[in-house]
């Protein structure tokens, strides 16, 4: 009843968002066992990255702002970390150009991972993420390169950059992307007025949590109107109501990020149960029937 399709069939529509508990395989496996439909790794880069100095996150009134700085063990190490992967794992990749992505895919493609998610939208690290995602030509080249090297589904993860999201989605789609995740965090900042300093060591970070949900809903709505490929909604989901809102807006599945911090790993089962109750109440038999119906 809860199963859904994002170019690969999932047992339910709730995914662990990238960057949340996504570095250690035993932890990823535990999250899957706790109820997630699939799990996504932290963004992996060609070399290991320590990330920014602390503080890397600050809770604001209605969300969180983080600048982890893409800390990750690098692709070679991570390939070993997940070599015995036996869960539906999507590996999220970040890089600066098509060569880097090509190298990473070559290292990973023989592993039992179910898809790639390409982070075109990290808002707080230079020369990767959004800076790439704002360049249509580069997005096209990168997706095309990965497509040429792998048969696995490619999901592109978009955010609010200095470009038109629909246009970037279009070139990604042209390059061979199979699905779109929207959205990543939004560039933001928090200053403590008592000490008159930005809190994050990187000063600027990305806003996640309830604050960004209405923006993410709008993006999913616009993308799902414009494209026929699956859209994966992400941004501010903390309960089944939020998840349903994304599905009605046009999402085939949803990702849960910062809210994991508050509800912990039960959140996946809680949301899935809530969705199921809603479907029973409304008479829906499959997630499919609900996707995008707020459009009509």
């Amino acid at each position: 009843m809860l199963s859904t399709d994002i170019c690969v069939r999932l047992r339910n529509p709730t995914l662990l968002a990238s960057g949340i508990l996504g570095i250690s395989y035993p932890v990823l496996k535990r999250v899957y066992e706790a109820g997630a439909g699939a799990v996504i790794s932290k963004s992996i880069s060609i070399e290991a990255r320590e990330g920014y100095k602390n503080p890397i996150i600050v809770k604001t009134e209605h969300g969180w702002i983080n600048a982890v700085g893409l800390a990750n063990p690098g692709v070679e190490y991570f390939a070993k970390e997940i070599e015995n992967c036996d869960i539906p794992l999507i590996v999220n990749l970040v890089g600066s150009n098509e060569e880097e992505f090509g190298k990473m895919v070559k290292i990973l493609d023989n592993l039992k991972i179910i898809a790639y998610e390409i982070n075109f939208s990290c808002p707080h690290v230079e020369k990767v993420g959004l800076e790439i995602g704002d360049d249509p030509e580069l997005v096209y080249k990168i997706v095309k390169k990965i497509r040429s090297l792998s048969k696995k589904p490619i999901i592109v993860k978009l955010g609010l950059g200095s470009s038109n999201m629909i246009e970037i989605a279009r070139v990604a789609n042209d390059g061979g992307a199979d699905a779109i995740t929207a959205i990543n965090t939004i560039r933001a900042m928090c200053i403590d007025i008592d000490v008159a300093k930005p809190i994050l060591s990187n000063r600027i970070g990305g806003l996640s949590g309830a604050a960004i949900k209405p923006i993410a809903i709008r993006c999913v709505y616009e993308l799902s109107k414009a494209f026929d490929i699956p859209i994966i909604g992400c941004g501010g989901i903390k309960d089944w109501r939020d998840a349903i809102e994304f599905i009605l807006a046009g999402a085939s599945a949803v990702q849960i990020g910062s809210a994991v911090s508050e509800r912990w790993l039960d959140i996946f089962n809680e949301i899935n149960n809530g969705i199921m109750q809603y479907m029973l109440r409304k008479g829906y038999k499959s997630i499919d029937e609900m996707i995008g119906i707020a459009r009509y």
Binding site: R49, N54, P55, I56, I57, V68, A71, D192
Partner: protein, 260 residues
């Protein structure tokens, strides 16, 4: 983030100081919980919550910091009137049982044990230090715990040897229902193994790199556990089954590095 002013500074040893501040929320921390301490423009570090000495425990809390690297030394050097930021308390505390308890700690690992002893009657505390200089909290401990045993590696004070030496002796002769420990990972490992051997329940408060403190970044991963959420206090029976405990930790990039 709550900005607090340091209202008192107490020298515990040549390298450890206790900083006391007014913060109701931290004052409510359970023994074993930690806070994230923000040093504006410098860093943010996890710190166990200490008791505030003579200050009102409902309003005040404290941290006891050892100067080591740049950030801890910066924190150690804060003076009365300086401001730091705190968030939390976070994490799983010691489970308080009204039974005959034995505490084993070393260095700043004594912090959560002191808070535990304050909140709950504890029978015996064994505290280890390298040398006489580094013995901390002794007076405080004696005022709260029925029996305090001090060991120093070099024998310059108390019993010569490691904290685990008198532990074995005691267990041979006396009955304890639970052992709480915090300190260097090697010490905790030995304590847990001994507890296990004697069939006594144990809890230890562990350390890993903590960036977010709230279960998101996974920098504190230890096997399948996330220490800022599932810990820092975990059951001895679980800890002893972990592959990484006592052997390795994740560095800032997430790679497993040997602790030896």
């Amino acid at each position: 983030m709550r900005i607090v002013e340091i209202e008192d500074v107490i020298d515990e040893s040549p390298t450890i100081r206790t900083l006391i501040f007014n913060d109701k929320i931290t004052a409510n921390a359970k023994a074993g919980q930690f806070i994230m301490v923000w040093l504006p423009s410098i860093d943010e570090l996890p710190m166990s919550v200490m008791i505030p000495y003579k200050y009102d425990e409902k309003l005040y809390a404290a941290i006891s910091v050892r100067k080591r690297g740049i950030s801890s030394t910066y924190l150690y050097s804060r003076k009365k009137g300086d401001k730091i930021g705190v968030r939390g308390p976070y994490g799983r505390a010691f489970e308080i049982k009204s039974e005959r308890s034995l505490l084993v700690g070393g260095g700043t690992g004594l912090v959560p044990l002191i808070r535990l002893a304050k909140q709950n009657r504890c029978h015996t505390l064994i505290m280890g230090a390298r040398s006489k200089d580094e013995v901390i909290f002794e007076q405080l401990a004696r005022s709260m715990v029925d029996r305090v045993i001090v060991t120093t590696d070099d024998g310059s004070y108390g019993l010569k040897g490691f904290a685990t030496d008198p532990l074995e002796e005691l267990l041979k002769e006396e009955r304890f229902d639970i052992i709480y420990t915090c300190g260097p990972e090697k010490m905790m490992k030995r304590v847990l193994e001994i507890a296990n051997r004697y069939g006594i329940e144990a809890e230890a408060s562990l350390e890993r790199i903590m960036k977010c403190g709230i279960g998101l970044c996974s920098s504190c991963a230890l096997d399948k556990y996330i220490l800022c959420k599932d810990g820092p206090v975990m059951k001895g029976s679980i800890i002893l089954g972990l592959e990484e405990f006592g052997k390795c930790y994740r560095d800032k990039s997430g790679q497993l590095k040997s602790t030896i």
